[in-house]
Symmetry: C2
Subunit: 449 residues, 2 copies
């Protein structure tokens, strides 16, 4: 069956009905992701997931998402109390009225999904107790490190480990600023102004640049890593606003990068939690996490170091985490517990027997090494042959002949090309008189991160 | 309540009883991790997890783990059919008799946890159908990328995304060989022999160096990323045994690293799956995954690129993944579905109110920048002051005076020291006559990866 087909899996059960508190950047992202990936999400959840009711402060404001079929209100409590809403997503941010709305939803036994790190850091202990008492749940994957599934990794993926420590770059704004200070030698204030213009930093940047946002997130990570209550007030917090460009420069001279790190470690006699600018040896993975990206390094006694990297903020990445929580909730409410997560990620009757492409049809860049006779015109012949097949050369190394045979290696990188064409081109190259050994062919992937 | 205390949470329910097929490296690791972390695992699962019955080919062979209280047999079917065994862990490897044993366990409705990538790649489709029909599950986190929770990340953490492609270094042996070929300029055969001596490669290395092991894993990753059946036979597979040291060197000259990559991408008209040596630009994260480590880069349409990094093999890392699956199973069998994963990772009455250390008690390295008068003896005074506090200097930069005031910066890195002592030392340094501006202090973490 093809991916798009509607089948009994999503037809059999009524859709899960979502109430959305907040239609700003993250709320808009959630609607977009749920709309765009509706079919894949239904295949994974075993039912459709529809946003049916949403609140916004200003109904006339411009939106980044379609609102078809969504009932709108300026009163978020209407959404919470709507008996036709099964699950609440809170993406308004701030403490008030988010706290009161979430409490009411939990009282009603409705699962709540939130991206609100400040609220979880400050009130998580009570919210979790309330959810537990009411037989429901508060999900908060989106509260830490945006789209990186770090909560799930720690609470579930590393559940066999004693977690010894974790260290994270968990504020994208701060990392953007530090990266620009390093790469462009600019001052903190100068880069902050740019970050504000680009929308990476708020008009009031205090939470980001004074480390408060990172401390919120660190208190959440430490709590789940060590199985202890949230203790935001105990996090030692130092921001990056006092950091000088010259210290960034001196650190580099010493072989270090300065990153704004959240760090938590378990000791015999207690736990340390701290957020501050930190020098990290330049070869470490965390030292190479740049710009607005986030990453968390977790040390478990069995697994050793593991690292989780990705986008720490933004509409779609945060929505990715919100929707992951939503699929978790939908699976819990839909599948029998033993089959909550389908073996192949989608419910069995939705597995798609996708065709597999032949290697002839893949497209990639190529590295070619030719061993040729050291004589005039050889390079021209090679280049012309490749050009005949429409293959562009991106880089080349020509070496001196390595022995008395006057054989010399020519190494080429090509732009991406279909493999079938490259195979023909290699055959033609191999047939050239000057080519005197089998051509070595490797593939090149530029990747993105 | 303290971490170690026995409380009603693990006392209330009888332990989950595990049957273990295979007591080699991975089996021994599983017993070790379950033994060492028994309390943490019980806090997370809501009940104890005990290995009660295990099979091994040779009962007299030396073991890496304690066997106290475990009933031993040479007949694995005894373990499968033991009515006092609730869950089966299969870590024997190979197709026969693992396949038959797993099928029997599923027939009996027992959840099966396996690290057997070859078996999942070849027979997963039937095993999953059988598990589904019998109301139980086959869990296989350990089958791909060792301790990295990549199956969970893709099936659950990225469930909101349309996954476009993924690329992974998913064979530790191959990556160890490539790293040594690059760093030491040695030939494939030379490094392979060393890897075999170190236990990183098997006596018959075919599965690792010809890419078959990576193809097994790629077929699993692609199936769950795209929601399609396992199609191992359709993976284009090329190993690293033909790779020449000179190509590794030329790739570097061009700004690339050669990695043995598994790559899967979804297209309009089908899916590509291929495993082969691949040139990757040297700045990419995957290009910097060295030695026996694994990493998988996954591109989701909402989240963008995310990366998962860690140990891809070894007794304890593989056990980490097996036990994560076991905790998943235990939570499913123990908690009500809405509270399968506790908010704070451990069941509510097991949350430990751990003390938080004062910053005075933390220990870290320090970066100090002092602005001093350019006069004789200043450096000696600084060094003597630090020595008085027992603080060792690891590195130093002294710059020329930057203006007419004859003030010059001295930058120091220290070995780790308690913060309280460092605070006192900074106070003493600040009091030196030659120090003419507030001392800048940053912290240093060496991390490990």
């Amino acid at each position: 069956m093809s991916v798009g087909e509607v089948t009994n899996a999503d037809a059999a059960l009524p859709p899960l009905r979502v109430g959305l508190l907040g239609l700003g950047t993250v709320g808009g992202g959630v609607v977009n992701v749920l709309t765009r990936n509706a079919e894949d999400i239904a295949r994974r959840s075993g039912r459709r997931i529809d946003v049916v009711h949403a609140s916004a402060r200003n109904l006339g404001a411009p939106r980044i998402c379609p609102l078809n079929g969504i009932l709108l209100t300026t009163n978020p409590m209407d959404v919470v109390e709507n008996p036709n809403v099964d699950v609440i997503i809170e993406v308004m941010g701030g403490m008030t009225p988010a706290s009161m709305l979430i409490r009411r939803a939990l009282e009603l036994g409705k699962p709540v999904i939130t991206a609100n790190k400040a609220l979880i850091a400050h009130e998580g202990n009570e919210l979790f107790a309330l959810a537990q008492a009411k037989g429901t749940v508060v999900a908060f994957e989106a509260a830490v490190a945006g789209g990186i599934p770090i909560i799930k990794a720690i609470r579930e993926g590393l559940a066999g480990n004693r977690i010894e420590w974790l260290a994270g770059i968990i504020n994208g704004t701060g990392n953007f600023i530090l990266t620009a200070m390093r790469d462009e030698g600019r001052s903190f204030n100068d880069v902050l102004a740019e970050a504000q213009k680009l929308g990476y930093a708020e008009a009031d940047p205090t939470f980001d640049v004074e480390g408060i946002d990172a401390a919120h997130k660190l208190s959440i990570l430490a709590a789940i890593a060590f199985g202890m209550p949230l203790k935001f007030d105990s996090v030692y917090t130092e921001g990056i606003s006092a950091l000088k460009t010259e210290d960034v420069r001196y650190a580099r001279e010493l072989g270090y990068q300065i990153k704004h790190l959240g760090f938590a470690r378990r000791h015999e006699n207690g736990v340390e939690m701290r957020v501050h600018p930190t020098l990290i040896p330049e070869r470490r993975l965390l030292a190479n996490v740049d710009g607005v990206k986030n990453a968390v390094l977790v040390w478990g006694d069995a697994v050793g170091p593991t690292l989780y990297y990705g986008a720490g903020a933004g509409a779609d990445p945060t929505a990715s985490a919100v929707v992951a929580d939503l699929v978790d909730v939908a699976r819990t409410l839909t599948a029998d517990p033993n089959h909550r997560v389908p073996h192949l990620a989608v419910v069995p009757d939705q597995v798609s027997d996708l065709p597999i492409l032949s290697m002839d049809d893949i497209q990639t860049g190529y590295y070619l090494r030719l061993t040729v006779l050291d004589q005039p015109g050889v390079l021209a012949n090679i280049a012309r042959t490749l050009a005949d097949f429409g293959i562009n050369i991106e880089a080349m190394i020509q070496k001196e002949a390595s022995d008395e045979t006057l054989h010399l290696p020519i190494v080429l990188l090509t732009h991406p090309m279909r493999e079938a064409i490259m195979n023909d081109a290699i055959e033609s190259l191999q047939a050239l008189d000057e080519v005197c050994a089998p051509i070595v062919r490797l593939r090149v992937e530029s990747l993105v991160s």
